[in-house]
Symmetry: C2
Subunit: 344 residues, 2 copies
DNA sequence: ATGAAAGCGCTAACAG
DNA sequence: CTGTTAGCGCTTTCAT
């Protein structure tokens, strides 16, 4: 079933069929109806591959994610998919599993498939790798900033600043010995959070002890085990910043099982603001991580770039998405307020 | 940058370049090296669109999901992506949002893009809709069974049977008044679970009371609110089967806040076996929902179908994936065991 | 308003 | 072993 058979059936040329489908207004209403009728009757759908080959445009964008099993990445994906769909595009989804080689292969592959644009989330590519991508002239937007990404379209959250804000808040409450449970350090975002942790402590005149930072798997179990480590050591922090809510929930579970009270004995602050974080006891103080928004904005930026690309040189943009501290019970702020009121 | 420029540069014909890329063994080592060198030097990558047009094969499969923000769907997606990548395919991902029209449009769209196969998870298509899909002869696998899917490739979990097993277990423990918190009823899986609930009660000689079934949003808040409803009513169940762990966790939170004990006052059983379910107190008894496995198996079945399709008529398959009851503390089984031991 | 024809980039007969 | 060539299905000038 191709355009030729439709043309024959409708008694017109292939050019006319093509026009009916793409520029219906330039063809006479009469023939248009005729062609449309045949198209309908024969259940014809044009071959987008052929069209893409001719037009050098596929209406496909690609999203590369470190993995799928993570709420933040899912949110990003949904954000991207929503705008892609709205624009009539379709999304290819690839996961790179923190494997730079796999990432490079995928990108190569996607470019040969002539995708119109790519969004690379938390990419591990080096400047060197990017060179070959640039050569292909494909519109690209990055999610998550890193030092290799100068002069690139980037949409990002400032995890360092967000963490500084957390530490400031914890110190304000009165916590002195602040520990940290940090997800896998190779991930850029975790390194930024660690940096923010150090900066925050310094800013608040608190000491940084390496022993109070524990690296853990980014899931409930990781947080649970990290707290076990803290408790087995001599020095127990009176507050812990945990780089993800999932880990934080695991951490809280261990604390509770140890007959310690949150936030009285150990206060906890997480990161992400998962829905579930409002349904643990005590409710988790956390940082809103606008992942869906990043996906949305990155996709919109991508489409802008693609459209500009048709005209003059596209302007590179860096877009900062604001995170936000969400104060609930687990950090001890409310308790602290009470104390202050008592004193006055 | 196309095959022609490579041919010219290497001083051979385009056919030879094509051969070097696709059947390297049939071309003399000497010319092969020469061509490869040029390919490398000029950073040439073939245009897969053109190849696909010629070969009528794109090495693309599509996965349609109800939405992305759900752990089960993400697991499915990861399963599919893993085998697609392994086979050298790339995955298009679309979400249909329980909107049959959007689903139909996407499928239409994907077919015009000449995807080699599609996996439709928890589709809402009718037999009628499927007719037009079949006409296009595209390999298709469904995840999640329903009555419209006779004579289709289907990979599924028997949610009804799984639920019967849950109810049986709850009844065995001694729970008499068993309630249910069920996710959105339009979703097939929830309807199956409801059916299983009724069958299970009947089988165990327990009464089914409509008042003990509450429909809720499939998230922690939904479970929380559902329990509130139960508590505000006269009749409080002594055990609740909740159709997802996320809701179950919300439900547990409300129970604990009401100063009731789990499982003593109200026992809880969830569904999904999320990682976090082992990190709530008490640990959640639940049903392992092998979503990743479903994705994996569905993708493998899809590739089988695609490969068979080249030969004779493909054999339609229905594959049942086993779920499994995971007994932990929240259902009261351990407590019950103790009682039994005391008696003896 | 319509048709003829070129060509997007590639692969696979077919011929040598 | 290699080159020539005919398409794959579509869009778009260029004529008419």
């Amino acid at each position: 079933m191709n355009i030729k058979s439709i043309a024959e059936e409708a008694g017109v040329s292939v050019a006319t069929v093509s026009r009916v489908l793409n520029h219906p207004d330039v063809v006479s209403p009469k023939t248009r109806e005729g062609v449309l009728a045949v198209v309908d009757r024969m259940d014809y759908t044009p071959n987008l591959l052929a069209r893409g080959l001719k037009l050098k445009k596929t209406d496909v964008i690609a999203l590369l994610l470190p993995e799928l099993r993570d709420f933040n990445y899912m949110e990003i994906a949904q954000g991207v998919e929503d705008v892609a769909h709205q624009k009539g595009y379709v999304m290819m989804l690839c996961t790179m599993e923190d494997d730079r080689t796999k990432e490079k292969e995928y990108i190569e592959n996607l470019m040969t498939r002539q995708v119109d644009g790519m969004i690379l989330a938390f990419s591990n590519l080096t400047k060197q790798d990017l060179l070959s991508v640039k050569k292909k002239q494909i519109a690209t937007v990055f999610i998550g900033r890193n030092s290799e990404l100068a002069d690139e379209n980037v949409v990002y959250v400032d995890y360092c600043a967000a963490t500084v804000e957390v530490i400031r808040h914890m110190a304000d409450i009165g916590h002195k010995t602040i520990g940290m449970i940090v997800g896998e350090k190779p991930r850029q975002e975790n390194r930024e959070k660690l940096l923010g942790f150090q900066k925050g402590l310094q800013e608040m005149g608190l000491d940084y002890h390496e022993a109070l930072v524990i690296e853990a798997a980014n899931n409930a179990e990781g947080g649970y085990l990290a707290v076990s480590q803290f408790l087995n050591r001599g020095q127990r922090p009176d507050a812990i910043f945990v780089t993800s809510d999932m880990m934080a929930i695991g951490a809280m579970e261990k604390i509770k099982q140890s007959e310690l009270s949150i936030p009285k004995d150990i206060a906890i602050v997480g990161f992400d603001n998962l829905k579930i974080s409002a349904f643990v006891e005590p409710k988790l103080t956390t940082v809103v991580n606008p992942a869906y928004c990043m996906g949305l904005v990155a996709a919109r930026l991508l489409f802008n770039t693609m459209e500009e690309g048709e005209g003059q040189e596209a302007q590179v943009q860096e877009i900062l998405i604001q995170s936000k501290l969400k104060v609930r019970k687990s950090c001890g702020y409310m308790g602290r307020l009470k104390e202050i009121h008592k004193k006055t």
